[in-house]
């Protein structure tokens, strides 16, 4: 035995580690979270409500919701399709596809935003054609949706893929031999097997889509009441010395994040 510890020492070490973990959690997570709400309500309920009910803030909440409603289903479809292709089939370029799925994880969102801008912007490759046809992609909803889709693309695929790989394709093959067609195999065998991982991925994707800042800030144009998403609106209010307004708007984002975290915890339990 090379690792002999006295019981007392071990307990002391444990306590120290737990203490560090608790203090860090308080300082880095709990305190900022409480502070957001404390600042948001620092001038009372009424001022808080006024800030939330300001048309520009309401629109930012609405726009962010619309973006998530468009992006999440598309990315769920993309994620499942991509994971299905990679996990259940062998084809040339399979490794490359996995890498492509993960690119958004490793690329800073602002680079994604700039790429889209340089492609679809007025001076970009497709810009003159878009302008000639009166199509506004950048600085409008389509641009915001595009960038958010890019940034959140891997979440569903990354959650579903390991599960599909672990489960293999025996059940699907059995279904086929029993006469099920492709769609039946997918809805009756594959989907039920991955449903919790899928929901988990969708929750993560939603949280990320709602909070996306860097990429969207490049392509949004910050038009208040039109293209200002909630994170951009928080920054605007903050820059404008409206701390209570900024924290009020931030509190709605935080609420979404907290709900997402709770859902995530519940789903994790289900998945296990």
């Amino acid at each position: 035995m090379t690792h002999t510890h006295l019981p007392g020492q071990t307990r002391q070490g444990e306590r120290l580690l737990i203490g560090i973990a608790v203090v860090t959690t308080l300082l880095f997570i709990a305190a900022p979270l409480v502070y957001i709400f404390a600042r948001a309500f620092s001038q009372g309920w009424q001022v808080y409500a006024e800030n939330i009910l300001h048309p520009a803030t309401l629109h930012a909440i609405w726009l962010t919701t619309v973006v998530a409603i468009i992006v999440v289903p598309l990315n769920v479809a993309f994620g499942v399709a991509a994971a299905w292709a990679v996990a259940k089939h062998r084809f040339p370029g399979r490794g490359i596809l996995v890498t492509i799925i993960e690119i958004p994880f490793s690329i800073s969102p602002i680079i994604a935003g700039i790429c889209y801008l340089l492609l679809y912007g007025r001076q970009g490759l497709l810009g003159p054609w878009l302008q000639a046809n009166d199509l506004q992609v950048m600085f409008a909803l389509p641009g915001i949706v595009l960038v958010t889709m890019f940034v959140t693309a891997p979440f569903v695929a990354r959650e579903v893929l390991p599960l599909m790989q672990a489960q293999g394709s025996e059940q699907e093959e059995a279904a086929v031999t029993l006469g099920a067609n492709g769609w039946q195999v997918f809805t009756r065998v594959t989907l039920p097997n991955i449903r919790w991982a899928l929901l988990y991925g969708a929750v993560l994707c939603t949280a990320r889509a709602v909070g996306e800042f860097g990429g969207v800030s490049v392509v949004s144009g910050n038009i208040r009441g039109q293209t200002n998403t909630l994170p951009l609106h928080v920054e605007l209010l903050f820059n404008d010395l409206n701390a209570v307004g900024a924290f009020a708007a931030a509190s709605t984002l935080t609420l979404i994040a907290v709900v997402a975290l709770i859902l995530k915890a519940v789903l994790e339990g289900r998945r296990a």
Partner: protein
Amino acid sequence: MKFPALTAAALALTLGAAPAQAQDTLLNVSYDIARELFEALNPAFAAHWEETTGRTVTIDMSHGGSSRQARAILEGLPADVVTFNQETDIDVLADGGLLPADWRDLLPNNASPYYSLPAFLVREGNPLNIQDWDDLARDDVAPVFPNPKTSGNARYTYLAAYAYALANNGDDHDAAQTFVRDIFASVPVFDTGGRAATQTFAERNIGDVLVTFEAETGGIAAEYAAQGLERVTPSQSLFAAFPVAVVAENAERNGTTEVATAYLEWLYSAEAQQILGEYFYRLTDETVAAEFADSQAAVDLVTVDDVFGGWDAIRADHLADGAILDQVFVNQ
């Protein structure tokens, strides 16, 4: 709430069609700290426009750092008018062919309906008796302003201090450079932007005097009212233009040239100037300006053109790599 209309507009945008225009709409792309100002100005203009033409107008606002905003307009942000705080950012649009190169001549006062100047905000009671640029160079005074390499606001601070030193040392550039070096040497931290510098000063309680546009000192003092910050105007400062222009190409395409021009011209009217004065801007209308004489101390204003020979010369002599700013900016 007009959510159904917005839903329709968003749907139209999703499908790639331009939203139908039942009335005049105007997109004003502006600098980052002007939200409340234009929230006060726009309804007044809308009322004026309806009164004179019988038409209604909706003014959409976009706020951001004005260099970034100029970039976005070049890439297709469909601004009808720009209201910026840096002339060079409108020049960028002119270079990009979106508006005429002589935009300064299209409206009075070099197309700057209001203006401001670098001024000071000091701690309650002004314990160090900071009154002028000389005091910023004192050893016991720590001034706070952002990094002049990244912040247009701080660039004005640097140039104003430099111009003050020139004026008080018989145009001796060596003396002026020593002077600004002394000021830089006692700045405790150079933030990247004006907002961060404000936080350093007001929330982290670092430094003795915050240098920023006079137009911002009032808002900052109000935001941190409990601290009793006091506004101080130096004896001399630098004219900071807040230039405006119609983005001719976009306005023509959107059919908004008339309302865009009227909007910018209206900013010179007594009604608009009154609102601008309440937000601590200096005014071009002398009658209205007289009403704000109490809150806007007399100051000798010099201009970038007179002292430095214009922005092109400043870029070459001061801001280029290895130029004067790099030589005096010792503790960056």
